[in-house]
């Protein structure tokens, strides 16, 4: 059954009694519908009167209903990615990466995408509070000013504790605030600390700095537990650089080599060419052994001895050393360890390989992590001794994420002032709880990498009474200038002169605001390496039979965003679990303990007063001696999400009232040799015998044919194809090709002409890291609801993009392939054939349209879809929070109960681009339409375009040798093609994804 051809006179929707009945089904339905509707509506009056309320004074530069874009900077973490905020009628509704930005280059991660929802969080602190009672800023300013003066008069200690700050104007404000106060100290720390890298460079290069890494320049990348594609320092920037050298094409079949050593399973490890399991306490020796092997090849002095001899991984390390040495000057070694010994060896390796100035740079250091763990430790001692008179905390949550030894004496600080969104643990302890402005409602600036200055612009006036730290400090110094004036004046005095006087300040600043950033071209010299700095100790004893490793998870990171429901419901790329953290155990360890996924265990960690109960998650690729638990969970107040999903008689709460989502283990971390470590903790596991349901999406919506039903030889479907670089370069076809091309007999009528456009998408699996930025980007764009844990566990998550994870390999060599799966807009769509009400029909542009108003919810289409990408609205998902509703995309319907939905190829964006082209009187050009997932992708793995245009990029991608369609053998002709994953492995043994494990 197809979209019916049109008949003359079939257009009118109003049918007058007596009109000749056209003997078609549509005419019948119309007659029946009209009759029933009008009889039902006898006596009804016109609908409610609607009003149009316009601004009294027309806003300058904006037109109602037309989106405009504001260039600003993301403050979801300290990476400082460039953002274009899409605003409608005076409010931001969607964040997108700024394609011109030199660091993030157009990508924006899941965390960044979700920032727009945090802005509209209705539980944010709205006004200042003193001792828990609402107060006004005038009183706060007066009391604090007096208190500061009093402390300073008697030479007391004022401390400012913040996360990493790279905003030049804020740092200048702090400097002004500190001027003349010898007792003042500003302490910066990062919950995900990389302080050891800075410390190690202080020792080896004489500068306490974090180098900027250039993954795009590296031919060989060796990573020791640095999850640089997912969570480490600046994942969007690193992933976009990494991907440049990871996507071979038919003409240039070459790519970089990426080797990962790690204890848990990360997206970075999943994407690596070779992956080895290495416990955190084995890192120092492994990196030392690598240095020793490189030294051997370099034929130098040979400063390291005995690390390589008898090493468990001697052969792979020697092999890697040879590859790195061969790529001298184009090699990069990184480590996510916060251990100075490890980082000392990493520096040595990079020096030996000639990396400084090429693949990493200290001349232009990164300022994305500036925390100093020693300073935090010192502050902890001061607090414990009761020596701090006034502690101001901003942009940090030490009561939650620092060791309990820090949090306990925190309340002893004579006066605690916390500037935050008010949802954090630290502000609950504070005498002065002050509301902070959200990044989207404040002006500001940043310098994520030295010489790269970016600006923040307010997209909306302060929704509440928030202030930035800069503004707060200015007020406390009696400076009454507006916040944006403070920023502007700082730029006038300090930033503008660095760019030469060729341009007037106003023009310079205006251009910077419009673009979002400015960059200095010149960089200084690389500091010299001091060979005598090499650490001596290489032995790091294991903490016991089993060690606990705390790791950050994609999206939630250090937990600062735990109040964001999008991130809570985002399936973790590795484990696919939502709404919880858990104890990851290897298969062997789990078998030894006699537990499986979902069994509750009790973890005893010395740093914590009592044992914590966590569900087990058996993770292939995990080190046998390591229990890995994600940070970022157990945030106070997360029981707000108890009823986030629909409430009905069978539903259960997402989290019990008064409890938290997940468990917080961050306080068990410790300062070890001056660095904050959470990867070397002794732990005891006790099996409770109870179980706990985990809402994992891995086995939902599977493409697999149920066991026993598959025809012989088709038990495994080749959804993900992987080829080796060697085979690809040799011109071999894709593995499994014999299954495809089933076009001999075509039962489908060729009745879908696509005269103008044929929209299509291509996804490069070689570049896809599974980072899930597209999932959240799509959610923001298409008003996809959050359904809560209970609904997720019933397979009812609503995400339009599902990232399928396919594990490959065994033991040490486990990696994973990721495949974003969404509606494939099949030309011969099975869903269209089964819909009894024509709610899903084909457009003349190749789109499989879903018409919500026609849908009656039979769900036949979802059942027949071979990709399982259709989502049904089982409920009216909650939209009662009127503030949060401000985020909803006004160009997309909010679906109601009983209708089916799915990826629409961002039909609203196609329409928008067409309307704009019509307005400007030109044809649509390739690249005019960027769909939401494509826009957010840090590695540009997703491409959208018109297949009818043979010159379009997507047409070219479709012709590549790596291109294939998933389930092509069904002859449903998907409009999406995937480019096979390529692994840089020498032997041509292509593999394909195996059965899907939870």
């Amino acid at each position: 059954m197809k979209n019916q051809t049109t008949k003359p006179g079939d257009g009118a929707a109003t049918l007058l009694p007596g009109e000749n009945l056209d003997p078609s089904r549509r005419a019948f339905l119309r007659a029946a519908g009209f009759g029933i509707a009008s009889s039902a509506l006898v006596g009804c009056s016109r609908g409610p009167t609607r009003s149009i309320i316009t601004n009294a004074i027309a806003p300058v530069g904006t037109v109602p209903g037309r989106a405009y874009w504001v260039a600003t900077t993301c403050e979801g973490c300290a990476a400082g990615c460039g953002v274009l905020a899409k605003c409608r009628d005076g409010r931001p509704v969607k964040l997108e990466g700024n394609p011109e930005h030199g660091l993030s280059r157009g990508g924006l991660c899941a965390t960044g995408q979700s920032e727009v929802l945090s802005l509209y969080d209705s539980l944010r602190l709205r006004e200042p509070q003193v001792d828990g009672a609402p107060a006004d800023w005038a009183r706060v300013d007066e009391e604090l000013t007096a208190r500061i003066a009093e402390v300073r008069r008697r030479g007391g200690r004022i401390r400012l504790l913040t996360g990493t700050i790279h905003s030049p104007s804020t740092l200048a404000a702090i400097e002004r605030f500190a001027a003349g106060d010898k007792g003042f100290r500003h302490v910066q720390y990062d919950a995900l600390s990389v302080s050891a890298i800075l410390d190690a460079h202080e020792r080896s290069h004489g500068v306490r700095a974090l180098p900027s890494y250039r993954f795009g320049e590296a031919d060989v990348i060796a990573s020791f537990d640095a999850d640089f594609l997912g969570t480490w320092i600046s994942p969007v920037e690193f992933a976009s650089g990494w991907a440049v050298r990871r996507r071979p094409d038919d003409e240039h079949p070459s790519m970089s080599l990426h080797v990962q050593f790690e204890a848990g399973m990360s997206v970075t490890g999943a994407a690596a060419d070779r992956r080895y399991r290495l416990a955190p306490w084995e890192r120092a020796r492994a990196v030392a052994a690598l240095c020793e092997a490189i030294e051997g090849l370099a034929g130098g002095s040979g400063r390291i001895h005995g690390a390589l001899e008898g090493h468990r991984l001697r052969e792979p390390i020697e092999e890697l050393a040879a590859e790195l040495w061969q790529a001298h000057g184009k090699a990069l070694v990184v480590s996510g360890s916060n251990d100075r010994a490890v980082q000392g060896f990493v520096n040595h390796a990079n020096e030996l390989l000639g990396g400084y100035g090429r693949t990493l740079s200290l001349a232009r250091p990164s300022l994305q992590r500036r925390g100093c763990d020693r300073d935090v430790e010192a502050l902890q001692r001061e607090l414990a001794n009761g020596e701090v008179d006034l502690l101001i905390v901003s942009g940090a949550n030490p009561a939650y994420d620092l060791p309990s030894s820090f949090a306990e004496p925190l309340s002893s600080a004579a006066t605690l002032v916390v500037l935050s969104d008010g949802l954090d643990e630290t502000s609950r302890m504070a005498k002065y709880r002050l509301p902070a402005s959200h990044a989207l409602e404040s002006f500001g600036d940043g310098e994520p990498v030295a010489g790269h200055y970016s600006l923040l612009q307010a997209c909306v006036p302060n929704l509440h009474q928030g202030r930035t730290l800069r503004e707060l400090l200015a007020r406390l110094m009696g400076d009454e200038r507006a916040d944006h004036v403070l920023v502007r004046e700082h730029w006038r005095e300090h930033i503008h002169p660095r760019f030469g006087a060729s341009q007037e300040f106003d023009a310079f600043f205006g251009a910077a605001l419009e673009r979002g950033f400015v960059e200095l071209a010149a960089a200084g010299d690389e500091p010299r390496y001091d060979a005598g700095s090499l650490p001596s100790a290489v032995a790091d004893e294991p903490p016991g039979d089993l060690g606990l490793m705390l790791y950050p998870k994609v999206g939630l990171l250090d937990g600062a965003h735990a109040h964001n429901p999008w991130l809570q419901e985002l399936p973790d790329p590795v484990t696919k679990v939502t709404w919880d953290n858990y104890a990851c155990l290897s298969e062997e360890r789990a078998a030894a303990l006699g537990v499986s996924s979902g069994d509750l265990v009790r973890l005893k960690v010395p740093g914590l007063p009592e044992a914590l109960e966590l569900p087990v998650l058996v993770q292939r690729g995990q080190h046998d001696d390591v229990v890995a638990v994600a940070l970022g969970y157990g945030r106070a107040g997360t029981d707000r999400f108890a009823r986030v999903g629909p409430q009905w008689f069978e539903s259960s709460l997402t989290v019990e009232d008064g409890e938290t989502i997940g468990v917080n283990l961050a306080p068990s971390r410790e300062f070890r040799n001056g660095n904050l470590r959470g990867d070397h903790l002794p732990v005891e596991i006790e099996v409770t015998g109870e179980s706990y349901p985990l809402a994992a999406t891995q086995d939902h919506h599977t493409l697999e044919i149920p066991h026993g039903l598959a025809p012989k030889g088709h038990e495994v479907r080749d959804a993900v194809l992987t080829t080796s670089l060697a085979a690809y370069a040799a011109g071999e076809g894709l593995h499994g090709e014999e299954h495809h091309g089933g076009e001999d007999v075509n039962l489908w009528p060729e009745d879908h002409p696509k005269p103008r456009h044929h929209w299509a998408m291509a996804v490069d699996l070689a570049a896809c890291t599974g980072c899930s930025a597209c999932v959240v980007g799509c959610q923001a764009e298409n008003n996809v609801p959050v359904v809560g844990k209970d609904e997720v566990s019933r397979h009812r998550e609503m995400h339009w993009i599902r990232i399928d994870r396919y594990l490959e390999g065994e033991g040490d060599g486990v990696t994973a392939a990721y495949q974003p799966m969404f509606c494939q807009q099949c030309d011969n769509a099975p869903c269209e054939a089964v819909c009894p009400v024509l709610a899903t029909v084909h457009s003349t542009e190749g789109l499989n349209q879903q018409v919500y108003n026609r849908c009656v919810g039979t769900r036949y289409c979802a059942n027949t879809c071979p990709y399982k990408v259709r989502r049904f609205n089982w409920f009216n998902y909650p939209h009662e929070d009127r503030l949060q509703n401000q985020q909803l995309n006004p160009d997309v319907t909010v679906r109601t109960r009983g209708v089916m939905e799915k990826c629409s190829f961002c039909a609203q964006r196609i329409q928008e681009a067409k309307s704009e082209a019509a307005r400007l009187g030109r044809e649509l050009a390739d690249g005019d339409i960027l769909v939401a997932c494509q826009q957010s992708c840090p590695t540009n793995a997703i491409l959208f375009g018109d297949l009818n245009d043979p010159e379009s990029k997507v047409s070219k991608w479709f012709e590549r040798r790596r291109a294939y369609g998933v389930l092509e053998e069904l002859n449903i002709r998907p409009s999406v093609r995937y480019l096979a994953r390529v692994r840089n492995v020498p032997e041509g043994t292509p593999s394909h994804g195996e059965e899907r494990h939870v």
């Binding site: 016109r46 609607r50 037109v63 209903g65 103008r756 609203q908 307005r919 009187g921």
Partner: protein
């Protein structure tokens, strides 16, 4: 169509006719044709668009750049009404009266324009009244499409489709009235009878056959 279908359809249609007869007019749910509500200010399109011949897009400037044509802010009205506060007759009358009484003529306000000054919080001389904020005027919406329709003015304006095609002879209406039914069938009839490319260059053939190239009637053209 089987006989059962016909009978059922006929019954339904009869029921519908009964409903129509009891109400007196035909108005399926959601159809607001003929709607002509009283507005807070008796603004006359007949005077502005008809008699004075003002361009529709002077006030409804959103139509060419945005989905929404928009109703102008009061500040847009003030572009002219800073100077024009009454009819010329009233002004001349006051002038004559003032001459007779030997005083300077006062500024004359029509009661409707006085409402505009009130909304803008301006005194009769056009100066802001201290302590008063401008307040938006709450107009009554006439042309209202259901929430699931995403009509876009831009392509229509770009094709030079006269506003009157959909909005009726606005230049003759003192009070704005919905003339067209604004139903989907009405939209589609127009889309079907017009070529996709008005220049005629873009007619398309597939496998040698000329295929339909009228303006898109795909669902996602309007339903997003």
């Amino acid at each position: 169509m089987s006989i059962h279908h016909k009978i059922f359809g006929l019954c339904c249609a009869l029921l519908g006719s009964a409903a129509v007869l009891s109400q007196g007019t035909v108005r399926p749910p959601g159809l607001n044709q003929g709607y002509e509500p009283v507005q807070p200010i008796a603004y006359s399109h007949r005077l502005h668009a008809g008699e004075l011949g003002m361009d529709c897009q002077y006030c409804h400037y959103g139509a060419r750049q945005s989905r929404n044509a928009g109703v102008p802010s009061a500040s847009v009205c003030m572009n002219c009404h800073r100077f024009v506060t009454s009819s010329l007759d009233a002004k001349l009358e006051e002038k004559a009266r003032a001459e007779k009484e030997g005083r300077k003529p006062e500024r004359v306000f029509s009661p409707e324009i006085a409402k505009l000054y009130e909304a803008m919080a301006l005194d009769p001389d056009g100066n802001p009244i201290p302590g008063k904020e401008p307040k938006p005027i709450e107009w009554v919406r006439v042309h209202n499409l259901p929430d699931f329709v995403y009509f876009d003015h831009r392509p229509h304006v770009a094709r030079n489709i006269a506003c009157e095609t959909c909005h009726g002879p606005v230049g003759t209406m003192d009070r704005i009235r919905q003339v067209a039914p604004l139903t989907m069938g009405w939209c589609i009839r127009c889309h079907r009878s017009n070529p996709a490319d008005p220049t005629g260059k873009g007619s398309v053939t597939v496998d040698g056959e000329r295929v339909e190239d009228h303006v898109s009637t795909n669902c996602v053209t309007c339903h997003l």
